[in-house]
């Protein structure tokens, strides 16, 4: 049972020469080989490394697509069709990229809810969590701008609607929107800057991911039991978690490539195969599935709140729905991390999950009749969960007895050696 970090031994003189001048080998060894990892991580802990692998897939396919794409209003749509029809394997590369975006969000959302369930955002991992929320923000910006590039009807109207959100800002709103557009409507300058930023932001995400990892490796992964583990309860990252992550990646590929090969347009909108037309708005515009809950929150504010007009209120609510996550480490007042030992929080957790699905459903459908009310209730609950339930629950809830170490719940009394 080798759980302690064993020093790296280099026999090869060339490697020793490199290591002496650039200690990159010992760095890799410390963080990818010997790195002490909780021995009780479940498959829910696969989704972090999975997200990292998808980021790489998105960058590689994206760089390749940029070799064939033309960011000009007169050529963008055609160049995407050129990729689909003429470029060798272009259809595969584009479907990998578009479905990759969907899978990225799916994986990251699971990763986030894993953190919510097991209290991974609590001390000393608050910054780790906050950096994660920053990554989510960057991902959303990147995904939105990428969606505009094919310059179909949905692209154009998504760009129009989302940039118009800023017009809700008092006084300078209109100026900001004009500045974002580089003109008086979404047009060629907008498309050009979106392409530039869509290429840039993923590399910014890579940088922030390294911060995320640096913070992670400072205190190590949280675990399903949610207690701080001693060395005895940790195992080296390699081979235990390299193999487990690879296995998870293989299972993920089945789902991802299943979509790519058998239902590549399942998650997209047919309207985006119609070239952008600034004179006609599609009858029913909806964002991609991963933005639906936020879209529902945006539309839920149909009334003025004191001096805040409904339009601005919706924008504030939508931004706040993500921004509230920044404060989560302090809103949750319970000292117990894992929901395993928080019977009441566990119920509220699943209500929040259901609430997000309700918001997604509302966001996918036209804002009519009872759906408006349902969206408002779901929005209210979303904020209540973070701003009311969590602070109070931490004070009132009586947690179940939390074990002192992993061997306590797993093994009979006195057994020090962990199970194989």
């Amino acid at each position: 049972m080798a759980s302690d970090v064993e020093p790296m031994v280099l026999k090869n003189p060339t490697l020793r020469w490199i290591e002496e001048r650039l200690p990159i080998l010992s760095f890799g060894y410390r963080h990818l080989v010997a790195y002490p990892t909780p021995r009780n991580l479940s498959y829910w802990w696969n989704f972090g490394s999975l997200a990292g692998m998808i980021l790489v897939i998105q960058i590689v396919t994206g760089v390749v697509l940029a070799m064939h794409y033309t960011p000009h209003v007169a050529h963008a749509f055609d160049s995407v069709e050129h990729i689909m029809r003429d470029v060798n394997w272009g259809w595969l590369l584009r479907y990998l990229h578009s479905n990759g975006a969907s899978m990225f969000f799916a994986v990251v959302y699971i990763h986030i809810f894993r953190g919510l369930y097991y209290g991974s955002y609590k001390a000393p991992r608050e910054l780790l969590w906050i950096i994660g929320v920053v990554i989510l923000f960057l991902m959303m910006m990147t995904a939105f701008m990428g969606y505009v590039l094919p310059w179909g009807q949905m692209s154009f109207w998504a760009a129009t609607v989302i940039t118009n959100l800023f017009s809700a800002v008092p006084l300078v709103g209109e100026s900001i929107v004009t500045w974002l557009w580089g003109g008086f409507s979404v047009d060629n300058p907008t498309l050009n800057r979106f392409f530039s930023l869509h290429y840039l932001l993923p590399f910014v995400i890579v940088g922030v991911v390294f911060l995320h990892l640096a913070a992670l490796h400072t205190h190590g992964s949280n675990n399903p039991v949610g207690i701080d583990l001693t060395k005895k309860d940790k195992i080296p990252f390699h081979p235990y978690y390299t193999v487990k992550d690879l296995f998870g990646f293989a299972v993920f590929l089945l789902v991802y490539l299943g979509l790519v090969f058998f239902a590549p347009d399942l998650l997209g909108h047919p309207d985006n195969y119609i070239p952008a037309n600034p004179l006609v708005t599609p009858a029913h515009i909806v964002p991609e599935w991963y933005f639906l809950p936020f879209y529902a929150i945006l539309r839920a504010i149909t009334f003025d709140i004191l001096f805040i007009p409904a339009k601005l209120g919706g924008v504030i609510a939508m931004i706040a729905s993500i921004a509230v996550l920044f404060f989560l480490p302090w809103l949750d007042t319970s000292k117990v991390r894992s929901a395993r030992y928080r019977p009441i929080y566990r119920i509220f957790f699943w209500i929040l999950v259901a609430d997000c699905f309700v918001l997604g459903y509302v966001g996918a459908n036209p804002p009519e009749g009872w759906l408006v009310t349902l969206g408002q209730i779901a929005t209210l609950w979303y904020f209540a969960h973070f701003l009311v339930v969590l602070p109070i629950l931490g004070k009132l809830e009586r947690p179940l007895p939390v074990p002192e170490s992993l061997s306590a719940p797993v093994l009979p009394r006195g057994a020090a050696v962990p199970a194989e």
Partner: protein, 182 residues
């Protein structure tokens, strides 16, 4: 695990395990190669580029003694209507005098029509000599201004740094006045 066949026994250090390992790594190698291929092949000419890889030229508008340039695959192709004197001059040169020995008859399908890719075989400049008034070099063919290569009336290298003759592309005469290049 419940397998009781003989192969479970460690024969010469684990025969079955060796086989599984070989199988696994072979699958990894083939799978990786297959996954990488689309990323490499996407840089090869796409279907629309290949579709434009031939061009038809109307020869009726080129009087004897003059030449034109046509674009083919992004490069100029020289189409020269040679005079009988130029043909005779090209055919009179002994092969031993040539750096890249090639008889004139092997470079044309009809002696009066010389069709070549107009890219200097030295470093890719476009030799002068096609349009009227351009220097044709010491051998009456073409002269490359970049590094001073001289080509004769058959487009063969005669002097200067270029290593080989101007290449002759694939072409077919569709009729007496129409030729398809590529």
């Amino acid at each position: 695990m419940a397998d009781t066949t003989a192969s479970v026994e460690p024969v010469e250090g684990g025969k079955r395990r060796d086989f599984l390992e070989l199988l696994t790594w072979s699958t990894v190698a083939v799978g990786t190669a297959a996954a990488i291929w689309p990323f490499i092949h996407q840089m090869n000419p796409s279907a629309d580029v290949l579709a434009l890889a031939s061009v038809e030229v109307d020869l009726s508008k080129i009087p004897p003694g003059s030449a034109i340039k046509v674009m083919w695959r992004g490069k100029p192709v020289f189409v020269r209507h040679r005079t009988p004197e130029e043909i005779a001059e090209a055919r009179a040169v002994p092969l031993s005098e040539l750096r890249d020995p090639e008889p004139d008859s092997a470079r044309v399908k009809k002696p009066e029509w010389l069709i070549m890719v107009g890219v200097c075989t030295h470093l890719g400049c476009i030799p002068l000599g096609t349009a009227a008034g351009e220097p044709k070099g010491e051998y009456g063919g073409w002269f490359c201004p970049c590094h001073g290569s001289h080509y004769d009336t058959s487009g063969r290298i005669r002097k200067g740094p270029a290593p080989t003759n101007l290449p002759v592309p694939q072409y077919t005469f569709l009729s007496d006045t129409l030729v398809r290049i590529g």
